[in-house]
């Protein structure tokens, strides 16, 4: 387990020393991205001068306090919103995005939800059914093609949502706290599923979570964000040998370290107003 060298600058800002560039070619490149919402007034920008590179096939977890701009960042990467300044580069073929709620269309069955994704991707009608069955099998839900969304449990819905995301055949999968509403056991199972799918497909995954252990359990890299302005303040390269479980010792150890940092980052905001006025006078 290693972590990037970090130094605390005099203003109380965290700065991240550059890591060596990833080996694989980049899949997502955010360069000096700033995002402000029109009604924000004098508040700091939601995201300020954020740069991030995710390599092809990389699994990155974004951690940060509530409201720090994680969802905003994913929206920018998904192209649902435009940055105020800076550039966002993603490969052609779009990105798949999963939300906290499964967001399956309730007027369609589980299978039809996946088929719609295939149809919108332009898959021929004759191949859709077969492809849907394959995707349902991938998330261990064979035989649930005709199930109504409301008949499925939260965990099953997220698995269908995962299958629907995979149906897009994008090279990037963005996940916005997809398992936050699930119970611990179900979440464990889905972690396992997700890692398996990721290993099979070689997707680049950006996974947003509040849960430090979840981030360490899943990610190859964990990025910690600050709030208002949202920035990346520290990153960890997670290297734990052997199968990783939420209760693994390595996971616990690194989680503790990251949690301490996250706490410090949040606490910093308690004194921020004073720091800001002091800063603006100098």
């Amino acid at each position: 387990m290693t972590s990037a060298t970090v130094s605390e600058t005099p203003e109380g800002q965290w700065a991240v020393a550059d890591l060596p560039p990833p080996l694989a070619p980049p899949a997502i490149v955010l360069e000096r991205v700033t995002k402000r919402f029109s009604g924000d007034g004098s508040r700091p920008a939601v995201l300020e001068d954020v740069s991030l590179t995710v390599a092809e096939g990389e699994f990155v977890c974004l951690l940060g306090a509530s409201g720090c701009g994680k969802s905003t960042l994913l929206s920018l990467v998904a192209g649902l919103d435009k940055p105020t300044s800076g550039t966002v580069e993603t490969p052609a073929g779009g990105t798949a995005l999963m939300f906290q709620e499964a967001a399956l269309f309730p007027w369609l069955t589980a299978g039809q939800n996946i088929e719609l994704a295939l149809k919108l991707r332009g898959v021929d009608r004759r191949d859709r059914r077969e492809e849907t069955d394959r995707l349902l099998a991938t998330v261990h839900l064979s035989g649930q093609h005709g199930s109504r969304v409301h008949e499925l449990s939260g965990g099953m819905r997220q698995r269908v949502a995962l299958a629907r995301a995979l149906a897009q055949q994008a090279r990037i999968l963005l996940m916005d706290e997809p398992f936050a509403a699930l119970d611990a056991i179900t979440r464990d199972v889905l972690h396992e599923e997700l890692i398996r799918v990721w290993e099979e497909t070689g997707l680049a995954v950006v996974f947003v979570t509040h849960n430090v252990r979840e981030a360490v359990r899943l990610g190859q890299r964990v990025e910690l964000m600050s709030s208002r302005p949202g920035r990346f303040v520290r990153r960890w390269q997670v290297e734990i040998d052997g199968p990783r479980r939420i209760e693994s010792a390595g996971v616990s150890e690194l989680s503790k370290e990251i949690t301490d940092d996250l706490r410090r980052e949040i606490r910093r905001h308690a004194v921020l107003p004073a720091a800001v006025t002091a800063g603006s006078r100098s």
């Binding site: 649902l80 779009g94 995005l97 897009q168 179900t186």
Partner: protein
């Protein structure tokens, strides 16, 4: 623990979770369902007929003012044997269907335009809402002046009665679509018309169906008003016309028979067409199937 064991373990865990989550569907036996949904209205009708009989028995008014149920039934039978009832129901239903179909097309187009373009919404939204509360019988004189005593006048009144409800129903359906669905649609690559076709319209279906249902009720009502006033032998027998004939002949039995027919047809379409569609849609989405 080896990784093989690990994933086996998870697979069985997952299977267990899935089995626990299997929904249990309860089907009510037919007898119970009939008792629950058919019995109450039958009791209510029986009660109304009883009240009616009591009123007749009290001799408050002569029977040509308040006929007995038997008189009404006889009147109905007489016009039925002449073929007038069938023709009236057929003519009125035909007009209602044609008018409603046209209103559905116009109302849907209008509703979509209003939902997609803020300018259109701001421009004509209040007008459409206002029209919805204007009794469409108010249009009858204008319709007669423009179209004469013709089908055209009748259709104009029906359209003005039904279109606003349908357009507003669709509009409110669209405005209640969770933004999350629109975002999902965009992520999946649905834009413009494709998004409307595959995401917006299906998601707006509950409000839209409500609008169509109300549109039908308004169409039927407007049709009766129009037929009653736009009275011309050239237009053929219709339910509204039966009412008018009853009034001219001071035949209260016929008037009541016509009212009953109008009620039965209106409620019948509601129960046989709209209710099942709505219930099916709501049930498929796991939404509460409210009282019919």
């Amino acid at each position: 623990m080896s990784s093989i064991e690990l994933s086996d373990d998870v697979a069985s865990l997952e299977a267990g979770l899935d089995a626990l989550d299997k929904p249990v569907t309860l089907r009510e036996p037919l007898a119970a369902r009939l008792r629950r949904s058919v019995l109450p209205p039958v009791v209510a009708v029986a009660f109304l007929v009883a009240v009616w009989l009591v009123v007749v028995a009290l001799h408050l008014k002569p029977t040509y003012v308040i006929p007995t149920p038997a008189d009404v039934w006889a009147s109905l039978g007489q016009y039925w044997s002449e073929g007038a009832v069938q023709e009236a129901v057929w003519n009125s239903l035909r007009r209602a269907f044609v008018g409603f179909a046209v209103a559905a097309v116009v109302g849907t187009a209008l509703g979509l335009l209003m939902s997609q373009f803020r300018f259109v919404r701001t421009a004509i939204g209040p007008l459409v809402s206002g029209l919805q509360s204007l009794p469409s019988v108010a249009w009858v004189p204008a319709a007669i002046i423009w179209f004469g005593l013709s089908d055209g006048a009748i259709y104009m009144v029906v359209l003005l009665g039904a279109v606003p409800s349908i357009a507003n129903g669709l509009l409110s359906g669209v405005s209640q679509v969770p933004p999350l669905y629109l975002r999902v649609g965009r992520v999946l690559g649905a834009r413009g018309f494709t998004a409307i076709r595959y995401v917006v319209l299906p998601a707006a279906m509950p409000g839209y169906l409500g609008g169509l249902r109300q549109g039908w009720a308004f169409a039927w009502r407007s049709l009766m008003a129009a037929e009653l006033i736009t009275f011309s032998p050239a237009l053929g027998t219709s339910l509204g016309q039966l009412l008018q004939i009853g009034r001219e002949l001071s035949d209260m039995s016929l008037v009541m028979a016509a009212i009953l027919l109008i009620l039965v047809v209106g409620v019948g379409i509601e129960l046989l067409v709209f209710s099942p569609i709505e219930r099916r849609m709501l049930r498929a989405r796991g939404l509460n199937v409210g009282p019919t």
